[in-house]
């Protein structure tokens, strides 16, 4: 990194704007959130009343039924949706790769869902799931199956949301895995074929182990996005019916904005940020240890 010697002006000047944004708009608001999480905030006669309540907001987290539902639904969504997306994405990537150049158009078309606003995805699927005139129930009608209330039934709603998430984000897994599949050394799989391996054996014993790191990376990338899911749920079900599709992001939104309870809402946000930071710290620690033992 010891390339060119410049004066202090370019060095500090070039990083200065980023530092300003970091301090004023990333660190400060999060610190403010932490401060608010110890407060009970109310409005009296147009004036903000702040009362220090210590850890009361945090103690209340344990008894929040909405938060409990949010956590369990989010975990189900993350695990189910991400697994399906990685499996489907890998299958598509392998198929695309073996088709070579003739698969150009498919690759382009698969990107579209990633670029469309999540809210639009929600709007599209809300129309498609519609009990009365949605295309899915129309299709069932042609087959003689009675209409199903995809988003209104407590048993089906979460599954319906997960289907939308799989549809929305499989292309992203596909894109990441395609890069990995294209990077596979050709000679190894050819050697396996010469040795008489079937396609399945070749995949299972040669390609899959080589692709494993990319599969894990894709899984993590996708899980992170799935964990934050908000837009589609907002438009499809708003967490309902009951708490059937309540997810963490939506719980925060409800407590903080809809119930206008910034103190408690901040406590949930801080708890989520803290848990996430903890997961990062553990992951980094594990990685360091693995590198040290190598």
């Amino acid at each position: 990194m010891t390339s060119v010697q410049l004066g202090w002006m370019p060095k500090y000047g070039s990083l200065f704007p980023a530092i300003v944004f970091f301090l004023a708009l990333a660190a400060l608001p999060v610190a403010n959130l932490l401060f608010l999480s110890f407060m009970e905030i109310s409005w009296e006669g147009g004036v903000v009343q702040r009362e220090f309540v210590g850890l009361e907001n945090y103690a209340a987290l344990a008894d929040d039924p909405l938060l409990k539902a949010g956590i369990s639904n989010t975990l189900i969504l993350v695990v189910v949706a991400t697994s399906c997306q990685v499996a489907l994405g890998l299958a598509l990537a392998l198929a695309c790769s073996s088709l070579g150049n003739s698969s150009r158009l498919y690759r382009t078309l698969f990107i579209l869902p990633i670029l469309i606003p999540g809210i639009i995805i929600g709007a599209i699927w809300r129309l498609m799931y519609n009990f009365q005139f949605g295309i899915i129930n129309q299709g069932l009608d042609l087959l003689g199956i009675p209409a199903i209330d995809w988003l209104g039934s407590p048993h089906l709603a979460l599954a319906s949301v997960i289907v939308v998430d799989i549809w929305h984000w499989t292309p992203f897994s596909f894109l990441l895995l395609l890069a990995a599949v294209e990077g596979l050394p050709k000679d190894v799989s050819e050697a396996a074929k010469v040795d008489g391996a079937t396609a399945w054996q070749e995949f299972r014993r040669v390609s899959l182990p080589l692709l494993w790191p990319a599969i894990v990376t894709t899984f993590i990338f996708r899980a992170v996005i799935a964990f934050k899911v908000f837009d589609e749920v907002f438009l499809l079900t708003s967490g309902g019916p009951g708490t059937a599709t309540e997810v963490i992001s939506f719980t925060i939104y409800q407590r903080f904005f809809l119930q206008d309870n910034p103190g408690y809402g901040s406590a949930i946000s801080v708890a989520v940020i803290f848990s996430v930071a903890l997961v990062i710290a553990i992951a980094l620690q594990m990685q360091n240890r693995r590198e040290a033992t190598r």
Binding site: K11, L15, P17, N32, L99, F133, L176
Partner: protein
Amino acid sequence: MSNAVKTERRWPKEKIVLHAAMILAVIITLGPFVWIALSAFKTQIVLLMGDITFSPVSYNFDEVLFDRRSTYPQNFLNSLIVASISTMLVIVIAFLAGYSLLRMNWPRWVLNAFLVWAMLFNLVPPVSLASAWYELFRTVNLSIDLISLTLAHTTLNLPMALWLLIAFFREVPKELEEAAFVDGARFFTLLRRVIVPVMMPGIVAVAVLVFIFSWNEFPVALALTNNKTATVPVAIAKFVQEEEIKYTQMAAASVLSAIPALLALIFGQRFIVKGLTAGAVK
């Protein structure tokens, strides 16, 4: 010999099956878009009746774009302003910072601080950040202005842009800069004449992504806007909250809101793939 003939014969069949599977995947991927686009040209009654054949009408687009009560043109303009300005800010700030962090002997902890920022912002739900910004901007009385949303989007996308650009910076050979210095170039001349041209594909890739992410962003925009400053996603979400949902107008608004994505796909496909995969591969 017989073996070779066999594989030759088997190949096209395998290809046909694969192509069929891919076409099915494409239909599943594009089907919903086609359906919503068709719905945008139907009247509410045709949509409710579920008729398969219909005569297309432009009524929904007229209502959304030209009706006096429609806020959609304003929403579109708001989105355009926020996404363009925040993208410009992100690119300039991340470009300078990325170059500085990579080439100017910053101590390790400064790099780590930015890395932690990037990781946290990548992992924390935007709703949490929205609540943090909402409180901050309310305290400084900026809450109803497009400026606050532009600043928030800049902060939201800055870490990602920074790491992507650093990944692209690493591919720039140092000899280029050294040669420029020997020639006596000053810092900004060096950036403008040498680094920016070499980095252009990377810059475009990141800019396209940042623009699309800002255009699509919903939770922060929902928290920081009112009726006048609402962006496109917020406006479309509002359709659902009305007592009688105007489904076909919602479809028309949705189709219009996909324009930037379609343009990006048609003209910048190569850049998007580069940007989306660079973060994961490197």
